[in-house]
Symmetry: C2
Subunit: 178 residues, 2 copies
Amino acid sequence: MDSINQNQPEDNFKNLEGEDANKKIKELAESAESCFFITNIKTGIPLSVRPMSIQKIDDEGNFWFLSANDSHKNAEISTDPFVHLLFQESKYAGFLNIYGIAEISQDKEKIKELWEPILKTWFTEGEDDPRISVVKVEPSEGYYWDNKHGAVVAFAKQAIGAILGKTLDDSIEGQLTV
Amino acid sequence: MDSINQNQPEDNFKNLEGEDANKKIKELAESAESCFFITNIKTGIPLSVRPMSIQKIDDEGNFWFLSANDSHKNAEISTDPFVHLLFQESKYAGFLNIYGIAEISQDKEKIKELWEPILKTWFTEGEDDPRISVVKVEPSEGYYWDNKHGAVVAFAKQAIGAILGKTLDDSIEGQLTV
């Protein structure tokens, strides 16, 4: 902990486990709707990064994506399934960092469940398009940065802190163990 | 290029160089206001990630941050100055990926230039707080994902594409060479 965090009069670290961790992940990721999906972590420098829409986060905290089976992403996951997902809910809060293991399948049932009509723009043959693959990411560890009471309180506390010259912010962060 | 992008009737890749690259970087990063700042890329798995506010992007395309000199981030930059910055302007567009070299200094002039009153919440002694350090990131390469005509047009095109079963989106992406 650096000297700035040591100045916080309130506790601003809170690790979350199990159900609480799942709830926080779902809340932040569903609100973000998209993420940076990072592959090639161990096998390549530079890392390989692209934005991705999430289709679903299930109750076990797994992330589900639809992806073209001939994409670079799929090729990279086949070589190295260790991936990194970064979500951002708003400009200054609701950041989520997830490490996980990705698994690719062509599970027809799951494609049907995740399908949305707008996807026909890309998978032009619809939900039976043979290029659709399902990418599941099972989180292995995570970290979040958020505000305790939302943006308005956070801003007010920071402003009061600045006037008083006191480290006073509404931030809360911690490890997520699912 | 995967089979989905090959279906795009319009050109949706455009690499930008020099002044055009700088302009795009400034536009996306200034609108994002904060980023994921990733260190420990070569030297550690997992990567080390945290959200950071940007203080400034100068006309040469360099990013400027203020950081506590006893933070993990500063220690990691001292070991390995190769960093990765990820910016997100909105939920589905304006994504920016920057690789660069970070340099830490205690340049008093620069601190004065980057200082904002709200920072007194964290650097409680104000702009003369001895813990303030300046982190400059000079981009070495970048990539962007954006829409050509903004969110409304992008959505309309995708919806029409979905009805027609044609790959029709307003996306544009490419390499940034500064």
